[in-house]
Symmetry: C2
Subunit: 280 residues, 2 copies
Amino acid sequence: MKAAVVGVGLIGGSFALALKDRQICSEVIGVDNSEKNREKAVALGIVDKVMPLNDVIECVDLIVLATPVDSLPTLAVKVLNKVDKQIVIDMGSTKQELAEMIQQHPKRGRFVLTHPMWGTEFSGPEAAVREGAFSGRTVVICDKEKSDPDALAKVEDIYTKIGMPIKYMSSEEQDLHTAYVSHISHITSFALALTVLEKEREEDHIFDLAAAGFESTVRLAKSSPETWAPIFMQNKYNVLDVLREHIHQLQIFRRMLEKDDVQGLTGMMQKANTIKRILK
Amino acid sequence: MKAAVVGVGLIGGSFALALKDRQICSEVIGVDNSEKNREKAVALGIVDKVMPLNDVIECVDLIVLATPVDSLPTLAVKVLNKVDKQIVIDMGSTKQELAEMIQQHPKRGRFVLTHPMWGTEFSGPEAAVREGAFSGRTVVICDKEKSDPDALAKVEDIYTKIGMPIKYMSSEEQDLHTAYVSHISHITSFALALTVLEKEREEDHIFDLAAAGFESTVRLAKSSPETWAPIFMQNKYNVLDVLREHIHQLQIFRRMLEKDDVQGLTGMMQKANTIKRILK
């Protein structure tokens, strides 16, 4: 099997490595708008070679779209327009806009919507990870009934070989749940970084006192705005809903602290502790 | 050298292990209100034996206070009342109330205020960590000019042997900076857990979609309310100040998202990214 990976950054680059390392593909060809990224991807051995998008489609069996989510809807249509029996997958964190754009496309069956739940706070080809990427994490496959059975089976097989348990849901459900467990964490982390940068002028202290707590909570604030702004925009209503609830919880916490309500604070923290049970 | 550790939980227990492992102390005696904790600490080999607080002081050279911060001010005075040449240290996350309580004590010089910037989200003697605790993290020593030179030198020597770089500041400064880089992270994490618990009723999804992002951001929400409620109360004004700023940042983010202000969102995230530079 041969694959093309469009967007050879953190996610696409790591996926290209996984396809080769797990012997799923004999050749992986990179496609990227940025010349620098194309050169890096070849130099780092992430892809075997690079080609322009228009030429690559007829050379491969699988096309992996790993670009920022705002580019995915139009990119998906352009690729489907040229597809015959090839399979196309995306790796985006949001699905509804993409699903809507390809909904009536005659080749819709060749597309499998996937969201492998893995990432780091870094970006670009040099952030691609060989060890520890994807494996053991869940991959969400959306609207599976809209994909051709052979395409779906092949994609399930690929993710299984990579070591990712598969979860099925609709695009709507995926965008809702992802707002809860991924998107809000990023907003919180960005806002926490801004809070500390705003409040703490003596930068030495931030570094020196960066106990494990702060470092892990603020880790996601290093994430790329180019990746995340489109995700927040595409998932705007779900994200706003969760964000409003989060601000509300912080306001309750603040009011209890202002009123010296130790019992109330303790109760809130005890309830928060139940996240243990869920995350185990 | 012999030491007594008062409060053999996560911090006290890990410190007891460090004192023995680094051959700083030939004997470490545990003191704890809870019979269960005393039994566990002996059974787990964290302390050599246990004794009541009133009897232990004359048997040791160093007394380590590792109880929740609300108990520290009175405990410190009671211990200092019985101290002759022994050295007393605490490990609390807040300092101003404690410093005020012992300020005029004739034995104030025997006390060294210390905050080793290490911890995990777990608690109790069974959470005590042998490998990876303390070493490489910063320890803050407060108001060092109020400690006797020999006591200060000895405590500096102990922390150096444990592998902790020392930073000096006043109690006021320490409480302010710790609100920024530690206390607010905990509140954010508690509130994030509550948000997700509130919004996400299908618990399977929380688990399955718990990408690395959510898990690391919410980790601190597993922390003990018994430890953290007193910290927030004792550092109330600093914590409220930072919490208000954090809510403000989230509100700006929300408003930009509501208005589709992609440029504004991107700008905020780019600014947040600069935390990279500070954290290294």
